[in-house]
Amino acid sequence: MRNLIPKHLEGDPKILKKGHGSLSAVDRTAKALGWFSIGLGLAEMLAPRAVTRTLGMESAGMNATVRAFGAREIAAGVLTLSTEKKVGLWSRVLGDGLDVAVLATGLDRFNPQRRNVKVALATVLGITALDLATASALSARSARPRQLRDYSKRSGFPHGVTKTGARQFRPTAQHMH
């Protein structure tokens, strides 16, 4: 796009100093969680075997489960990076619940990688807390107020309605100069 800007536009205002903006800390956290979700999802989709091996959870069907979870993470990440970030984050919270449920099955005392599972569980629980806090903050921000302002007297017609109809438009000399 940059090369589409012709030379003669160079006199337009340029930024001298950046000021405060519309993105809040919650928006930035949501954005970070969205990218994290996509990154994790890609890892799960592309290397499910590495994930199951690290967790010692290599039972039949587990690779497919990890891949499915990866697809879910990517979908949630895309939503979280969109204007529907509230939906994206709540879907992440639900997904976190699924992750915890599946990881819990790896706490079997015969699992040689039990320690890794514990670390993964602690990480997921920490991220769940962050997802929950961010989703709640976004929901509160856009919640409908209980008390609405009264606009019932804003007719816009100071002297009542006069149906005057259209006046035919003709370009006038004044319009053209």
Partner: protein, 391 residues
Amino acid sequence: MKALVWHGKEDIRYDTVSDPEIQNPRDAIIKVTSCAICGSDLHLFHNFIPAMLPGDIMGHEMMGEVVEVGSGMDGRLKKGDRIVVPFTITCGECEQCKRGNYSVCERTNRKKDFADKVFGHTTAGLFGYTHLTGGYPGGQAEYLRVPFADTTHVKVPENLSDEQVLFLGDIFPTGWQAAEQCDIQETDTVAIWGCGPVGQMAIRSAILLGAKQVVAIDCLPERLSMAEAAGAITINFQDDSVIDRLDELTDGKGPEKCIDATGTESHVSFAQPDTIYDRAKQLMALESDRPHVLREMIYVCRPAGIISIPGVYGGLIDKVPIGVAMNKGLTLRMGQTHVRRWTDDLLKRINDGEIDPSFVITHTAKLSDGPEMYNVFRDKRDSCIKVVLKP
């Protein structure tokens, strides 16, 4: 000077930028006294309209005092004049301007080549509205360079406040044009989807133009209450079926005239499953706009009726029943507003006390509060319908 600058999706900042300068003989610089956030600014805020670049100054609803003019004004504009700036920049000399089709002026888009490639043929330059329409810096700033200022201005008298005349630059003529292009007859029912600022202006315009009944459709009670204040019958689409109610109100025949004052970002809800479909396609970049309102209008409109589209669309839409429109013989009219075509008449109506567009202002804030006001407007917090900013 200070200005509200676009840096990316949902990222508007209150930056310090260099002052604008006269670049051409027909330029003027104004000191902005009032500007507003438009519903279509939210499309840019959400990055739904392509070709914004980081560093672009926002805003296309503004007015102020002329502080400097170029050498080519021929006395048509002078220092000290108080003007409203139409959002469509017009040369006044090309074939389209001479026909009054100001929003498709052939000469003011300084990125004509780019627009020719995308649109087939260029349209007018617009303030603060992407590089497809010239990439001109917008008016949410302390100062603004107005290109082709000798033809791109509306002089306003001192007896009218900023709040009364500011909307001559966009939303009032936009609502008016939407109603005008419906060819309203006194027996007509005009249904208007979306009761944001343009919808509110369209409601009042349809009433002034003599519609038998005006039906306003939205889901926000505060907007519906403002529509009712003007005399519109309202439908909350979360409580009622729009199609059933419109049929009830028109003896089963449907409204003769339908206005889409919603545009690209129609409300997404499980109650309207096609909006979920559209949103999913948008997320996958398979569709750029959500045309739920278009579908509903085409379906419910009376055969041989008129569909008027002032709402902004950005690109490609899907599953619009063109076959239904064709078989019903509907007329579709749309376009950016030919602002100068309407402003003489509308200014007179304001001056005569026929209408006072300031009714729509619900929030006034300092320019420095602009970034937060974008969030307030987006989230409809505090019953927000229209924000005016004071630099």
